[in-house]
């Protein structure tokens, strides 16, 4: 296969007029469909005084009410489903606040369009059907593995469905099968790079590119990984609610991530007032999915802070670009690629009999995230027996692991040592400086 610069030139390089025409047509259809098929949407739109006939094109998008994670929670599990269940073929899921998960449904059409978005990202990173794509994102409910796996299939690359973990095996397959593109979280890429160097196998690998996402990473980290693995490192963005990875991706010019806006209309809003902001201004990213069948979300507030740009990219793609997320407009943390809400931790503490006065400390050492919860000791939890106190601490660690899906260290501290500020408590201390 000859090296093609785009997976889908027609959509990735369309004129602005053409893109707006597609978006408008698809938006009108989607709004009509959800209004007629989804009682939850109809109620929401009726409350906002908006009817499908008010939406003529993307110029009317701002009339639609926002959708938030709370809506997804209220509507769990089937409330936002826009297709009969018998037409759905897949779910993916992500952790939500207070333990309630978000479940997204896919028809075969939805899986295909998601995988095509990932294929676009692979081609933008130089991928062809001659590549060997090693996917070490987790497989299962998490969208990382299935998304890149599907994209690699669409492209016709040889796909190594490694899933996460087992570094020995990862390196062995990477060497033996000559993997050329690596897909994983940036922190795992950094870890793999170090392990490969430690084993003296740097000259045995054939990697040329990596597609790294699902967590925030810095430019320093990018350079570090690129240097250690001898590759070019590309960022990729996505969220389960909208489809998964591949909602946007970097091209080789790396001037932000191209949004697949023929599928997902992007807006940036003032997170406080909800007002739509012009390109170039920093605000909360909002997506409207206009091609999905089973789970189309209208004006979904991602809580990610970004800036949009429509300046012509040297790569030739005309799609709007977003900066790497610059922060969050809520208190969600992304630790080891997993969404963590302080409220989840609070729930666990209360359920296990600990006081709700706590502090979450997130650090990054050797490019790997560490999360620790500091809890104040209380007379009720205390005992003269070390084994009793330790057992209780272990119980908390296990309960946190069950809730969050990742290991969270616990540190018991003396009473009244966690600062109580007036008003809102400072619950989270993120020392990673990811958005600096």
């Amino acid at each position: 296969m000859k090296m093609e610069r785009y997976y889908d030139r027609e959509h990735e390089c369309a004129s602005r007029e053409q893109m707006i025409a597609w978006q408008s047509e698809r938006l009108v259809k989607t709004v009509e469909r959800v209004y007629n098929n989804v009682p939850y949407y109809r109620k929401k739109m009726d409350e906002a005084g908006v009817r499908p006939e008010h939406i003529h094109g993307i110029e009317d998008l701002h009339l639609l009410p926002f959708l938030t994670k709370d809506d997804l929670r209220d509507a769990y599990p089937y409330g936002l489903l826009a297709e009969p269940l018998e037409n759905c073929v897949r779910i993916q899921s992500t952790s939500g606040t207070t333990g309630r998960r978000v479940v997204a449904f896919y028809t075969q059409h939805d899986v295909d369009l998601w995988e095509e978005c990932c294929a676009r990202a692979l081609v933008a990173a130089g991928g062809t059907n001659e590549d060997v794509v090693q996917v070490c994102y987790g497989y299962g409910l998490f969208t990382g593995g299935p998304g890149l796996n599907g994209g690699s299939h669409k492209l016709g690359s040889l796909t190594l469905p490694m899933s996460s973990g087992n570094t020995d095996r990862q390196i062995q397959f990477m060497v033996d099968l000559g993997a050329t593109i690596l897909c994983c979280t940036p922190s795992y890429a950094a870890y793999l790079a170090e392990s490969i160097i430690e084993r003296g196998q740097r000259d045995q690998i054939k990697l040329k590119a990596g597609i790294f996402g699902a967590e925030a990473w810095t430019e320093e980290m990018r350079h570090d990984i690129e240097e250690k693995l001898g590759i070019k490192a590309y960022d990729i963005y996505g969220l389960t609610e909208i489809s998964g990875p591949g909602v946007s991706f970097e091209c080789s010019d790396q001037k932000g991530m191209h949004i697949n806006e023929d599928h997902f209309i992007a807006e940036v809003i003032n997170p406080v007032t909800g007002e739509v902001l012009p390109d170039g201004e920093k605000g909360e990213l909002v997506f409207t999915s206009i091609t999905k069948e089973a789970f189309p979300l209208l004006r979904y507030r991602t809580r990610d802070i970004t800036i949009l740009s429509r300046e012509q990219c040297p790569c030739g793609r005309t799609t709007v670009r977003m900066t790497k997320p610059l922060g969050r407009s809520d208190d969600m943390l992304i630790v080891k690629g997993v969404n963590v809400f302080p409220s989840q931790i609070e729930t666990v503490l209360l359920n296990t009999g600990y006081p709700a006065n706590y502090q979450i400390i997130v650090t990054r050492e050797n490019n790997s995230d560490r999360i620790e919860v500091q809890v104040e000791m209380t007379p009720e939890m205390f005992s003269d027996s070390l084994s009793e106190v330790s057992a209780r601490e272990k119980e908390l660690v296990n309960a946190l692991k069950a809730m969050l899906g990742i290991y969270c260290a616990v540190k018991l501290v003396a009473p009244k040592t966690i600062e109580r500020s007036e008003g809102k408590a400072k619950r989270v201390i993120d020392k990673r400086n990811l958005y600096a």
Partner: protein
């Protein structure tokens, strides 16, 4: 025939024990015995003092998490094999020892072991049947004169 032990939660950081002992000093509390058990991120200091109720109050006022438990103070002769005799008496009677630490008094020829067991009564019975003495809280003061 038990003594009152106070256990206190201490953070694992420099000077935590120093601050604790300073507080005892400021309140003229006399330590009879002390032992420190450490976990990865915290420690439990266990003490026997002259005035346990006053100490509890001082510690609580200072914001420490602490509790009081009854433990055995066993007199052990100062000669080889004496501890074996004590432990044999407990072991033969099925008494499980959770932790123990020693202290000395002004009494010549004897050492004392603090012993934490699940069943104090059974332990005292087993020890006295073997001719081993345990000290009660009220007798503790006399050992330090």
């Amino acid at each position: 025939m038990t003594v009152r032990q106070i256990s206190v939660f201490l953070e694992n950081r420099p000077a935590a024990l120093l601050e604790f002992t300073k507080l005892l000093e400021e309140n003229s509390i006399d330590l009879r015995a002390l032992s420190l058990a450490e976990a990865e991120d915290f420690g439990i200091v266990r003490i026997i003092v002259d005035d346990s109720y006053k100490t509890m109050q001082v510690l609580k006022d200072a914001g420490y998490v602490c509790n009081m438990t009854k433990v055995l103070a066993v007199e052990v002769e100062d000669k080889p094999g004496a501890l074996v005799k004590v432990l044999k008496a407990l072991g033969d009677n099925g008494v499980n020892l959770e932790y123990t630490y020693a202290f000395l008094s002004s009494k010549k020829g004897s050492a004392f072991m603090i012993m934490r067991v699940a069943d104090n009564d059974a332990a005292v019975k087993a020890l006295s049947a073997a001719g081993i003495k345990t000290v009660c809280q009220d007798d503790l003061g006399a050992l330090f004169q």
